[in-house]
Structure formats: C-alpha cells, structure tokens
C-alpha cells in the first residue's frame, strides 16, 4: 500500500492516471488548475496526450473526439468553465461518449469568488443541459474520496457510455490529507460491436449500454448529436425515434440507480434529528453529529456520495424516523429540494446556508439549527 500526502486536486489526477486516463484537455481555471498541471507533467512521459485548449468549449469537445478515437479522456474545470462545457456534455450524453469531467466548485454566479469554496453547482450538474437527460454525479468529501471516486467515475463512464461528473469543491481541492493509493486498478474496456450489424446506438435492455465502435477500425460509424436511430442515422422528424432514444438514455442511468448510488449513514437508526449533506460540508456535519449525540440527542447523518441518480427509496428510508432534518449547504439551498420531496410530511426541515469568503459552515451552526433556531 502506497500512502501519499495529496491535495484533493492531486488526488483526482492520481486517480485518473490509476484508472488509465490517457487524454486530458483543459483550460486554466481556479481552483481546478492543479489537476491540469499534474496531467501536463505526467501524461507526455506516460505516452498519453495533454493539450491546453483555447477555451472550455474546445476542451470538452477535444475530450469527446479523443474518447471516440479510443482514449480514456477527461477534463477538469470550475463554475464558469463548467457552464461553457454544458453544451459539450449534452452532445456527449446524446452520442453516449464516455468521459470524466471534474468540477471543482467555487462561489458564483459569473466570476464570483474564484478562490473560495461553494456548492452552488449542484443543480447545474443535474440540470445544466437542455432537453431530457441525466448523468451520474459523484461528490467526494476528502482527497481520499477524490482519488477513489475519480477511478469510479472512469469505470462508470466506460461501462455505461456516459459522461460522469466528479463534483469537488475548493476546500477538498486544496486541502491536503494522506491518501492510500491502490496498487492496481482494473477497469474493463468498453465493448466493441461483434460485427457491423450490432447497433452502436440501441440496446434491448436500457440498463446496458450499446457497444461502442472505435474510429478507424472499419465500422463506418455515424455519430450525430441529432436524434438518431440505433445505427446512427439522423431522424429528426419521428416521435418514436426521439422518444425511444431519450427514454433509453435517461433509463440507462436511472434504472442503474442501485449500482450507482453510494451513500454513508452514521449515528442512530431511530434518530429524531437527521443531517443530510454532501461534499466538504460533511466534515462539519460529522462534528455536528458528534456534538448532538454527546448532548443525548438521537441523531444521524446521511451523506450522499452519489448525488444523481438519487435513490429515493434509500433517502426516504433513512429519513423516516427524523422529526427534524438539517440540510447544511454552501449555497442558498439546492439539495434541500430533494430532501423536501422525500422527507416525511410532518418533519421540520431546516436549511443552513452559507457561501462566500471561503468561510465554512461551522458544526455549531448545524447543531444550533437542529436544536431550534432556523437561519
């Protein structure tokens, strides 16, 4: 077992390299740039490709092209770049292109506070593209998890032929902790069609991604962002083709929820107070949980590692006993919408919202919210 002291950003890069990433295109942006620096240093000497793109639109599209040419490809960015990459993500969804995109969240909107942590891109990660779509979103809460979830993201991307978002934030990105690196990581390669008659854009079982023909091997694959049939031919008129395609693309993620949904539960099964959180805020939330329980409050913490697809059953079950639910977020309230949707009707849901200046949500603020006052 190799142990290394890594920042969250470095851990993402190490995770990507362990997962066999051999293509990186990116554009400089705080607070994600160290991921790009790491890849710029490592990829050329390991036989991979690194390119600094002219903008984020180019970066995501280069990643898409590289993925079709057979590479394990990724990019990393932050809010403003993530906004620009939404267009490319939509194309990657529609064309079922495996790729990993890391968004190291900072305070927005617009340029906002480039060096300060935030969690305001949660809904953008879920809904940022136009049209009907869903992609997996994973949220690490430590450098260790940044490493593990980046590997996981590549595995999901390859298996389901989908973009996967790793939603980090500035606290994790620049926090430094000991990370256990794995000796060997095996991620199965994407499946090629057995022969050209096997459709590259259709699957009888929506939970299973169709095989992906790499470019340059004589498959004569037709890739388009327009609505297409299972062989890739454009069909921009028929209801059946469009509905079948987008339904399958969404079902591919949604119906794999059991496989994709990861979460952590700490504390009492029959808790009266539940804290629901994700990402770096979980660190304060865990301390708050200890404080509440030391005061004799039956409390639990539900930390979502996979944000989407959301496992409604699990969240409902875990919140069943809670009379009070605290939702601390470094934004003005985004995860809370799903908590409101899934919590008992008679539960009291308290938001703790704080963002800007690089000031974390303190454990005491979560405790205070749990015990009475609402902010």
């Amino acid at each position: 077992m190799v142990r290394a002291l890594l920042s969250g950003n470095e851990a993402v890069a190490e995770g990507a390299l362990a997962a066999g990433c051999n293509f990186f295109a990116g554009y400089p942006i705080t607070p994600s740039s160290e991921i790009m620096h790491y890849m710029a240093r490592e990829l050329p000497k390991r036989g991979g490709s690194f390119i600094q793109a002219e903008d984020e639109l180019a970066a995501i599209n280069m990643v898409i092209g590289a993925s079709w040419a057979g590479a394990r490809a990724m990019t990393a960015t932050s809010g403003p770049g993530f906004s620009l990459m939404q267009e490319g993500l939509g194309y990657a969804i529609m064309t079922e292109t495996p790729l990993v995109i890391v968004n190291v969240m900072r305070a927005g909107p617009a340029t906002g506070q480039a060096t300060k942590a935030a969690q305001g891109d949660l809904m953008q990660a879920r809904w940022g593209r136009h049209g009907d779509q869903m992609i997996p979103v994973l949220a690490p809460s430590s450098p260790q998890e940044a490493y593990d979830l980046t590997i996981e993201a590549f595995a999901i991307a390859e298996e389901l032929r989908t973009p996967v978002v790793v939603l980090s934030d500035e606290f994790i990105a620049h926090g430094r902790e000991v990370v256990e690196l794995r000796e060997k990581v095996e991620i199965p390669s994407r499946r090629k069609p057995r022969d050209p008659s096997e459709p590259p854009f259709g699957s009888p079982d929506p939970r299973i991604a169709p095989p992906m023909p790499p470019l340059g091997e004589g498959y004569y694959v037709i890739v388009t962002g327009s609505t297409h049939n299972e062989y890739g031919y454009r069909d921009v008129h028929s209801f059946e083709t469009h509905f079948r395609l987008v339904k399958r693309l969404v079902d591919k993620i949604r119906l794999n929820v059991d496989k994709l949904f990861r979460y952590e539960v700490l504390g009492d099964d029959d808790a009266e107070v539940a804290i629901v959180c994700f990402g770096s805020v979980s660190r304060s939330a865990k301390q708050a949980l200890r404080m509440l329980r030391s005061r004799g409050v039956r409390a639990k913490l539900l930390r979502l590692v996979t944000l989407w697809p959301m496992n409604d059953e699990v969240v409902r079950r875990e919140l069943r006993s809670a009379k009070t639910i605290v939702v601390p977020e470094m934004n003005l309230g985004q995860l809370i919408y799903d908590v409101q949707r899934l919590a008992r009707e008679d539960s009291r849901i308290v938001a703790v919202n704080k963002v800007g200046g690089g000031i974390p949500i303190y454990p005491s603020e979560i405790v205070e919210a749990a015990l009475g006052g609402s902010r």
């Binding site: 050329p44 000497k45 002219e54 599209n61 092209g65 470019l215 340059g216």
Partner: protein, 280 residues
C-alpha cells in the same frame, strides 16, 4: 442495359441517397472534387479517414452521406472534436467539412487556434456566403450590400477574408477555389491529402448558396458558374491578392504551401523530452 455507376458512389452510403441538398446545390461539386482526388490517389475505401462536421448544409456532406467514420458535432465545434480524434489516434486522416458560419463565426476561435498549432487536420470550408440551413441569414462572409433575412436592407458589415487571415498563421496549406475551378480544386484536395499530408491544411471553396444567394439574385446555377468563372482570378503570389480584390474579383489559388512539422510531430518530440527529463 446496365448503367455505369458514378465514380463517387464507392465513397457514399447508397442507402441514404439521394442527398438532402437543394437541386443545383454546389455541395455536390465539392464532394465530387474531393472524391475525384481520392480516386486519383488510389484511395479505395475510407477506413483510415474520419470526417468531422458541425452544423449547417455542408456539415451534412459527411454525415451520413460518406461511407466512413464520421462525427456530426455541435455547431462550431467540429475542429475541436477533430483535434481530439487526431491526438488520440494520430494514424487517422481527419477531415473537417463545414460552412463559413460554422467554422468562422461560432467556431472561429477553434479554427484560429488549430491553425496556430498547425494541427494535423484538413479543413474544408464551403463558403456559401449565408446561413443557409436556417434560411438565409447574414454570415461573416456575406458580401457588403447583400440582402439576407437579417439584413433586409443590405449588409453593412464588412465580411471576413478567411483564407487571407489564415495565411498569417502557422497553417501549412491555404488554398481558395471557386466551384467553377473544379480541376484546380481537385488538385488542391490531392495536395492536401498527399504531398502536404501533415499540419493544418485549409481549403476554402467559394460555393454561393443556390437557394438563398443565387435564386435571390434571379440567376440559374449555370449562370452563376459562368459569373464565378469570370470573377475568379488565380494568383501566383499572395502579394497579388489585395490587387485582385480591389478590382472586385475573387482571388483564388494556393496561397500557402509549406511542409513544417505538424502538431503531432511536435508533440512527439516534446513527449520524448519529457521522458528523458523524468529519467534524470
């Protein structure tokens, strides 16, 4: 009685014919010039080619018409996607086909930077002078005074001279021909696919939209070809371009032809430096 098959058919997907283009569309001329060049180069099938296009009428040339791997990408992003394809698999011949709106307006930044990098791509710009697929709006290449859906009183924005702009980048090859110069155009395709097969190669084809330019002018395709033939002046040196254009003519020719190493070659030597540095 058997009918001889048109030579271009071996490069096309028979099942999607006829083409979706308007009757008389000059896209056919561009395709035939490219296919003729390929045939003369002895390219029997296109399994080592990847065609990348964006959004627009000419972006439908490769996808799904051409029997090859093709990516029909987002509006403006073809050059960026093509860059990713080339870097991930440098063995492939990557060809971008797109319109002036796609490559120069929404995709202008990517075009400029691919040329700066001397990226190993052949980019074919079919300059139809308008946004045709969206029904004839102003393009960055629309001539002054021209009436379009969005300049109903005549265009007052000076157009961009793309080929001239790209001469001043690191691009290896820059040429411009009109659809009336079929043989010269074919010759340029041959050069850009064989003699100068590395670095950034750009071929502009002046091919006015048959529906939103030629028909609006009240002309037939035949009349337009004749007019273009008279308007085109082949230059032997780039110093003649300005002079030709001042006379209201269209300067055509091979404006630039160099054999500098392309991005892929430069990256490979950079990577070997990286490996050496890490061994020290």
């Amino acid at each position: 009685m058997s009918v001889a098959k048109h030579f271009s058919r071996k490069y096309l997907r028979e099942e999607v014919l006829p083409t979706p283009f308007c009757p008389g569309c000059f896209n056919g001329v561009v395709m035939n010039a490219m296919f003729k060049a390929m045939e003369e180069l002895g390219i029997e099938d296109l399994r080592n080619f990847v065609f990348v296009s964006g959004i627009g009428c000419s972006s439908w040339i490769p996808n799904p018409l051409i029997r090859a791997d093709s990516l029909h990408t987002l509006h403006g992003r073809a050059v960026a996607v093509a860059t990713g394809v080339k870097l991930a698999n440098p063995r492939l011949n990557v060809v971008v086909i797109g319109g002036d709106g796609d490559l120069v307006a929404i995709g202008g930044n990517h075009l400029l930077h691919a040329a700066r990098r001397n990226m190993d791509l052949l980019v074919v710009m079919v300059n139809n002078m308008v946004y045709a697929m969206t029904r004839g709006q102003l393009a960055p290449t629309t001539p002054l005074g021209f009436r379009t859906a969005t300049t109903p009183y005549g265009n007052f924005e000076p157009p961009i001279n793309v080929a001239k702009l790209l001469i001043n980048t690191n691009a290896n090859y820059v040429a411009r021909w009109c659809v009336s110069n079929f043989h010269k155009l074919k010759q340029s395709f041959k050069e850009a696919l064989s003699e100068v097969s590395k670095g950034f190669r750009f071929i502009e084809v002046v091919a006015p939209c048959i529906t939103y330019v030629v028909r609006y002018e009240g002309k037939t395709p035949g009349q337009k070809i004749k007019e273009l033939r008279e308007a085109c002046v082949e230059v032997k040196s780039i110093s003649e371009i300005d002079d030709v254009e001042r006379r209201g003519k269209i300067a055509v020719g091979v404006f630039k032809k160099e054999l500098k190493p392309g991005y892929v070659e430069l990256y490979e030597s950079y990577a070997s430096r990286a490996r050496e540095a890490s061994q020290k």
